[in-house]
């Protein structure tokens, strides 16, 4: 549900959570994106960072430069400025994934859990267009939703301590891609050769909040050739 009014929660003396709704839902997330883009266009002096997530924005500020009260007034003002028509078109991406085998050690498990064959899992996973709800956890790490219900799974009971870079995982209603080797609690279906984060580019992330994403299957021997076709805007 999208709240009628913004809800505020303080996180210490220098951060304010601004909540727009109470669930993981496309409408709520689009409202977060709209407010985020408006705040980017009309920055509030004293604000040091804005982190948009599923249903909220975390505003970090210098409390010696702007008071909490003024900050809330400014955010409410920004909300009124939001013009949905003005928002930039989200990016569209078709992401190559090598499913199963050594790159997708959990494809078999997901197939068993969902009562499908591995081929059916891949078919279903590549059959929908998804939305990037947020970037978080590690640099460039997208949370992509919402999976077809037949692919819902619980997270792994024991998270892996080392998930290889590029791994594409599913868990709950979501797909994630690990841009770096990191711990991870999702079921790994495959791997993409694409680089999702490059700190020397601007923006440093390939995918951004609001982008539309589809996946398509590639063969193991194709991993190398897709690597060279990373669609960064240069």
């Amino acid at each position: 549900m999208l709240y009628k009014r913004l809800r505020y929660r303080t996180m210490g003396d220098r951060a304010l959570l601004v909540e727009l709704g109470n669930e993981i839902h496309a409408t709520v997330n689009q409202a977060v994106r709209a407010l985020f883009i408006t705040l980017e266009k009309h920055p509030i002096p004293g604000v040091t960072d804005v982190v948009p997530t599923y249903r909220s924005l975390l505003i970090t500020y210098n409390p010696l430069a702007i008071s909490l009260t003024t900050l809330q007034v400014e955010i409410a003002r920004a909300r009124k400025r939001v013009k949905p028509g003005d928002l930039p078109e989200p990016g569209k991406f078709e992401i190559p994934v090598c499913y199963g085998g050594r790159y997708g050690p959990d494809l078999e498990w997901v197939a068993r859990y969902t009562g499908m064959t591995p081929e059916e899992v891949v078919h279903l996973h590549t059959g929908s267009t998804y939305q990037v709800f947020m970037i978080g956890f590690t640099p460039g790490h997208p949370y992509i939703a919402e999976l077809p219900e037949a692919l819902f799974t619980p997270r792994r009971e024991t998270p892996r301590s080392h998930v290889p870079r590029g791994s594409v995982g599913v868990g709950t209603k979501q797909t994630v891609i690990y841009p770096f080797e990191s711990p991870g609690g999702m079921h790994i279906l495959g791997r993409t050769p694409w680089v999702l984060f490059d700190p020397n580019r601007s923006p440093p992330t390939l995918l951004n909040m609001g982008d539309r994403v589809r996946f398509f299957p590639i063969q193991e021997e194709e991993m190398g050739c897709w690597k060279t076709r990373n669609p960064w805007k240069s």
Partner: protein, 333 residues
């Protein structure tokens, strides 16, 4: 830019990294701020050697760093007392010193605190990545090649000779922070304090917690009385942004104080350490004891103003320093 070889790493210790004041402003890309954990100490160290307060320095964890000066250098060591030495003689902390080419600096072992900061006049010349020289070790960027220092690394500084005349500057003794093994951290409740039981909140404020060895730059993991959430509530919440100092409580009811390498999280957060106490988080080490004390927003801001006043005063002193002005003129001429 004229860079001069300044320091050679003879031994890196368990974890020494290049850090400045971090890279706030990239949270939307999932990029955590990184940066020195004890920003107060790094800022002071920089000011003592005549750098801008936000210049990069070395964050030395616990012990073991051994470096050789490759040129005459103005250096200052602040933060945790890791028993710094120059050529086997104790080096006074919170004061800048002129070291000579060939001198060897060593951080022997922790006596108080956890992390020391070494600033050198002219800073550390590494490229700025996403607006900061800080090392993000998990994602391999920033600092020196995105990694901790290794034996054989050579650091460079920007015109270190310009800073030599600033040597001898010191922080007033009354302003030097004291570190013990028992920490009282001031917090503001929230953002999800209502999700915890009254008993959970009481215990959070009154029971001491022990710092576990699993602590690192992502978070300080505590163990102690369970901080219980209300019964019907699930372990996780919808992921949201976090800041360093936020105290999250996962399913096992053992709190974790989030530090600078984390940007989002999906656990409930009972309270957040006030900004003025954040630098002290960098000095807490495994085995130490932590207690929390609730304060008001006014008290939090007063404490922050007090800390900033110390920095401002040192900056004024530095500007009025007689050694500084002629040096500048000489270089210009």
């Amino acid at each position: 830019m004229e860079n001069t070889k300044s320091l050679e790493v003879l031994a890196p210790g368990p974890l020494t990294t290049v850090q400045d004041l971090g890279r706030p402003g990239f949270g939307r890309y999932g990029v955590p701020p990184s940066g020195a954990l004890d920003t107060f100490s790094l800022r002071i160290a920089n000011l003592l050697v005549g750098n801008a307060e936000g210049e990069a320095g070395l964050e030395i964890t616990l012990m073991g760093l051994r470096v050789k000066a490759l040129t005459d250098l103005n250096v200052a060591v602040t933060g945790g007392d890791l028993q710094p030495q120059c050529n086997n003689t104790p080096l006074e902390m919170w004061r800048s010193h002129r070291v000579r080419r060939g001198d060897i600096l060593l951080f022997k072992a922790p006596r108080k605190g956890c992390r020391a900061y070494l600033a050198a006049g002219g800073g550390i010349a590494v490229p700025s990545v996403l607006a900061s020289k800080s090392t993000n070790c998990a994602s391999h960027f920033g600092g020196l090649e995105g990694r901790p220092l290794r034996k054989g690394d050579i650091l460079t500084a920007n015109q270190p000779q310009r800073h030599l005349a600033d040597a001898g500057r010191a922080l007033r003794a009354s302003m030097i922070p004291h570190y013990s093994k028992q920490w009282l951290l001031r917090v503001l409740f929230g953002p999800q304090e209502d999700d915890f039981t009254n008993q959970g909140k009481e215990l959070f404020l009154h029971a001491p917690f022990e710092v576990t060895p699993q602590s690192d730059r992502t978070g300080i993991r505590l163990s102690g009385h369970p901080v219980e959430r209300k019964q019907r509530l699930p372990e996780s919440i919808i992921s949201e942004g976090v800041v360093s100092g936020t105290v999250q409580v996962p399913g096992d009811a053992q709190p974790i104080i989030i530090l600078v390498e984390t940007i989002t999280g999906g656990y409930r957060k009972i309270a957040t350490v006030i900004t003025a106490d954040l630098p002290r988080l960098g000095q807490i080490k495994p085995g130490d004891q932590v207690r929390f004390q609730a304060v008001s927003l006014e008290q939090a801001l007063e404490a922050l103003e007090h800390m900033e006043a110390i920095i401002a005063r040192l900056k004024e002193d530095a500007q009025g320093s007689p050694s500084r002005l002629p040096m500048k003129t000489k270089i210009k001429g």
